[in-house]
């Protein structure tokens, strides 16, 4: 009934003389958790940044919620940008603001300036990412790596997005933290009915979160499907990525758990 959340249409990207993507197509439907995987330098993060309009594709088009990203109409583009939230790899919290102001910032930009309402909403977001109200008054430089990710997630959620993009959500977290963060995202996905796109290197994150996986290699999408389908594909890169010991371990755990 509705248009796919993200539609990447014959996308090509070139940096100087180097082609990152050539004629790349990808459709992400509402409610999916789509993981983009690929080797270093395969253009995963580039693709993610193009999806949210930070980078212009060289050729081709990306449509979000059925609307093209670059329309030339600033009003329309701004409204489109407010329908998704992005979790940057290093959090990208505003270092001059404390946690509370960081989460309240998008709301205030939208014109919600009722102090009590903003306070209640920020506290709600903090509890959604399992942080305590007293954490709201800390500065980003006082937070641990895991907390930075949680605060950044709370900020990404503050505009009630329909689409959430995660760049390496568990990179730099210890396995324990990483697992609890994956659980958190999974429960938020279930509660809020979000569409999630994530870029990751971590197989545990992939196995724990993704409903579908897109493999990026050789400048295109090599394969799209559920994790089980992908592991069946016979391609040197996929064999290497999924079929060595560590991958088998992660997948095995998933089967058992």
């Amino acid at each position: 009934m509705t248009a796919p959340v993200i539609e990447v249409d014959h996308l090509s990207t070139r940096f100087d003389s180097h082609w990152v993507h050539r004629d790349l197509n990808l459709v992400i439907e509402a409610g999916e958790v789509m993981a983009l995987v690929g080797g270093s330098g395969s253009g995963k993060t580039t693709l993610l940044r193009q999806m949210i309009g930070l980078l212009h594709p060289t050729q081709g088009q990306i449509r979000l919620f059925g609307e093209p990203l670059f329309t030339g109409n600033p009003e329309q583009e701004r409204n489109l940008r407010r329908r998704f939230g992005m979790l940057f790899q290093y959090g990208a919290l505003y270092s001059a603001f404390n946690v509370f102001q960081n989460i309240a910032f998008p709301l205030r930009e939208l014109g919600i300036i009722d102090r009590e309402l903003v306070h209640d909403l920020v506290m709600l977001k903090l509890s959604m990412v399992e942080l305590l109200p007293r954490h709201a008054w800390l500065m980003p430089s006082e937070l641990s790596g895991g907390m930075i990710k949680r605060v950044a997630l709370a900020r990404a959620l503050s505009l009630e997005p329909e689409l959430l993009l995660l760049d390496e959500p568990t990179a730099g977290l210890d396995p324990d933290r990483s697992e609890s963060f994956v659980k958190l995202i999974r429960s938020l996905h279930k509660q809020l009915g979000l569409t999630v796109v994530l870029v990751t290197h971590d197989l545990d994150t992939l196995a724990g979160l993704a409903t579908r996986v897109a493999v990026l290699a050789e400048q295109r999408i090599l394969a799209v499907g559920t994790l089980d389908e992908i592991t069946q594909v016979d391609h040197p890169f996929i064999r290497n990525f999924f079929c060595c010991d560590r991958a088998q371990r992660a997948l095995q755990e998933r089967m058992n758990g």
Binding site: D114, L121, M139
Partner: protein, 374 residues
């Protein structure tokens, strides 16, 4: 799909129901936030009114929060809540139960704390600056003992960046100041028929006073801020810690080359800028008072004793060392956030210029008997 709407109806039993319908999502609600809140609050005040949420197509936590607040943080007595929306309110309920905290409450004697904090901060500046100077002296002794460890490359790079690259801008500013000063003085001197004293005024004024201060202000703005920002970003990206880990002394590698470079570059820049400023003054004097270049150049050494040049050089070295030290002092104080970086860079430039002018006044008093024409 439809916009958020609410309507008041009375059912068969005579109970009034507020029926909500449409999309209660942040993006749809934000433009009509104020009128909707007012309506909801008005309806919420009357506890007899029932709430019918069956018509709501989608509800996010923002919409739920609006309703929750209209209900004064509890469920109303008469509520028709579809099962699908229950989890949204559950989240609110859970988060609302946690104890709310605000920032620390203000103490009654807040100003005592403020004044104390300021004094401590000032004291810290004094201690840190003294430590920086002390460390620099130790470094100098170290370098004198083992000259092989002198950071020549860093010093020469700094010399190029803050010395050579500053030549065009100091020359331009110096030339223009020279012209303006000469022009304004000429207007006055003409009245008294004291035309030839233009050489004295320009010579003494520029060489002894204006040249060193002008260059110090320009260098503080140009190189001082760059040094503070560089050290600040190195602190933010933990590069300074990385240096320390490798056993490299940060003061020897980062502070010493900057101080050494400005100590060398500043007197040379003073010489260069003063010369160009005098040239500007000479051009202006020629136009305004018909004083020929030959006469100007011939008279200058006679009316300005050479001691003034030595004072200027001494000022140059002192100001250079001070600007670099102040820049490094503030650069090493930067905390890992953007606010601290910007405030420290500002403080660095302002303090450097203030210190230069204070020290200039000390120079003026200390050298009042030296270099005056008889």
């Amino acid at each position: 799909m439809g916009d958020a709407s609410l309507s008041l109806e009375t059912d068969a039993d005579g109970r009034r129901w507020l029926r909500l319908a449409g999309e209660w999502r942040l993006m749809a609600l934000a433009p009509r936030f104020k009128p909707l809140t007012d309506e909801l609050t008005k309806a919420g005040a009357d506890r007899d009114v029932g709430w019918d949420l069956n018509g709501i197509q989608s509800l996010d936590s923002f919409g739920a929060m609006m309703l929750w607040r209209a209900w004064d943080h509890r469920f109303p007595e008469h509520l028709m809540l579809p099962d699908a929306l229950e989890p949204v309110f559950e989240r609110l309920y859970v988060s609302g139960k946690k104890k709310e905290t605000g920032p620390e409450p203000k103490l009654p004697f807040e100003w005592v704390v403020t004044v104390g904090g300021l004094s401590v901060a000032l004291w810290r500046h004094v201690v840190d600056f003294t430590a920086l100077v002390g460390q620099l002296l130790l470094d100098i002794i170290h370098v004198l003992r083992s000259p092989k460890e002198t950071p020549w490359r860093e010093s020469s790079a700094n010399l190029y960046k803050s010395g050579v690259r500053a030549m065009p801008v100091t020359a331009l500013v110096g030339f223009l100041i020279g012209i303006v000063l000469s022009y304004l003085s000429a207007l006055q001197l003409k009245n008294f028929g004291a035309d030839i004293f233009i050489v004295n005024i320009l010579g003494m004024g520029i060489i002894r006073e204006l040249g060193p201060v002008l260059v110090a202000v320009l260098v503080a703005g140009r190189s001082g801020s760059a040094m503070t920002a560089q050290l600040g970003v190195m602190r933010v990206t933990e590069e300074i810690d990385a240096l320390a880990t490798m056993g490299v002394s940060r003061s020897l590698r980062l502070v010493f080359p900057k101080v050494a470079a400005l100590a060398v570059a500043m007197p040379l820049l003073v010489l260069w800028t003063s010369a160009i400023a005098l040239m500007g003054g000479m051009v202006s004097a020629q136009f305004q008072l018909d004083i020929s270049y030959g006469f100007f150049i011939d008279t200058l050494p006679k009316v300005v004793p050479v001691a003034n040049l030595y004072i200027a050089m001494a000022k140059g070295v002192t100001f250079g060392v001070l600007v670099a030290l102040v820049a490094c002092h503030f650069g090493l104080r930067v905390r890992p956030n953007t606010e601290s970086l910007s405030s420290n860079t500002t403080a660095s430039v302002v303090s450097a210029i203030t210190v230069v002018i204070l020290v200039d006044a000390v120079f003026a008093i200390a050298t009042r008997k030296i270099g005056m024409p008889i």
